[in-house]
Symmetry: C7
Subunit: 71 residues, 7 copies
Amino acid sequence: MIKPLSLLNQSINSNVLVELKSGRGYRGILDGFDPHMNVVLKNAEELLNGETQKKMELAIVRGDNVIYISP
Amino acid sequence: MIKPLSLLNQSINSNVLVELKSGRGYRGILDGFDPHMNVVLKNAEELLNGETQKKMELAIVRGDNVIYISP
Amino acid sequence: MIKPLSLLNQSINSNVLVELKSGRGYRGILDGFDPHMNVVLKNAEELLNGETQKKMELAIVRGDNVIYISP
Amino acid sequence: MIKPLSLLNQSINSNVLVELKSGRGYRGILDGFDPHMNVVLKNAEELLNGETQKKMELAIVRGDNVIYISP
Amino acid sequence: MIKPLSLLNQSINSNVLVELKSGRGYRGILDGFDPHMNVVLKNAEELLNGETQKKMELAIVRGDNVIYISP
Amino acid sequence: MIKPLSLLNQSINSNVLVELKSGRGYRGILDGFDPHMNVVLKNAEELLNGETQKKMELAIVRGDNVIYISP
Amino acid sequence: MIKPLSLLNQSINSNVLVELKSGRGYRGILDGFDPHMNVVLKNAEELLNGETQKKMELAIVRGDNVIYISP
């Protein structure tokens, strides 16, 4: 058994996919998070329907938009 | 009588279906949860209209999207 | 006078109807609840427009979707 | 001056109309409430466009759906 | 300078307009409120597009629907 | 560096524009606020697509509707 | 590893892009923030589909609208 935030903690410095309610997703290296599931992504790509829309060196994605985070 | 979180606790390592507000569902082995009903699923499948959309080794599904979880 | 959670408590082991914001409803035997109105239903049926969509041995329905619960 | 919850308290055992965000309303005898404005209605009728849709002996209506309660 | 709740307090027994997110408004004499901006209106009128839809002797309007309250 | 609420505090008695999620905006003299970003506006104008819809001597705008406040 | 609010703190006096749920974005110099991710932007531009809609010397953008903030 592993708690959601512990799994996020184990995923630091790994690639994660953050899928949002709006249909957009963000893929990047997890650089940090807080208990609200706000996450910091490094080398982030914004994805829409599987295609890269935009690249960002760093992005703070707000947790309340998240459907799931897949490490 | 059983409290919702106690039932989640009993369902650890079992297969569960997590149905979301968006119409999407996730099926997988429950690997963890927290009091917000954020859940960790192992060997997760994303379902839409009963069909598998995608497979993920691990996913943290955020609790505020959940309609129901069925163990 | 009876408080909402006390009425839920009296309804344990009885049949209840849980009507959700999405138009879906769930009918089953109330097996548990918590202060957020998350409920555990046994022998649950999902209803849409009065017709059974699906049966589940157990389901945890998240309270924030609920319009009303009728014991 | 009267606080909202004090008015609810004075309305116990009286007929109230509970109007919801969805356009539906519930009329019944107020049998209880809590600080979230969750209410227990006895002999409740569900109303849509002024017409009775359904009758229920008891219903717990969740407060976060409420637009107004009129005693 | 005046805090929002202090202005509500000064407006007790005065006529106020409560405009809601749904496009509906309520006009009446402010009879009470609480820190969530739930308000009690006396001799309340429901307004839609400037026209009176309905009159109510008393109504508790839930604060989370409010866009603005104008004393 | 300045915290959001400190900037609101510095803007007391100045003209501000309060833009809401609904597309409506309110312009007026900031007369007060609280930590939820509920604001009191004096000599407020309601704006829609840049045009004045309505004038109000005083209005309490609820913070949860706000997109931004520009002093 | 860096927590979301620490990254915001490091971004004070730098240019940031604040993308909102509504599809609008704001670009400006980060002048402050609070734990809700409410942010103060200096020399802010409102963007829609990549085009500048409006310029503001100062704007407090409410955190609950935010999808992501990119430093």
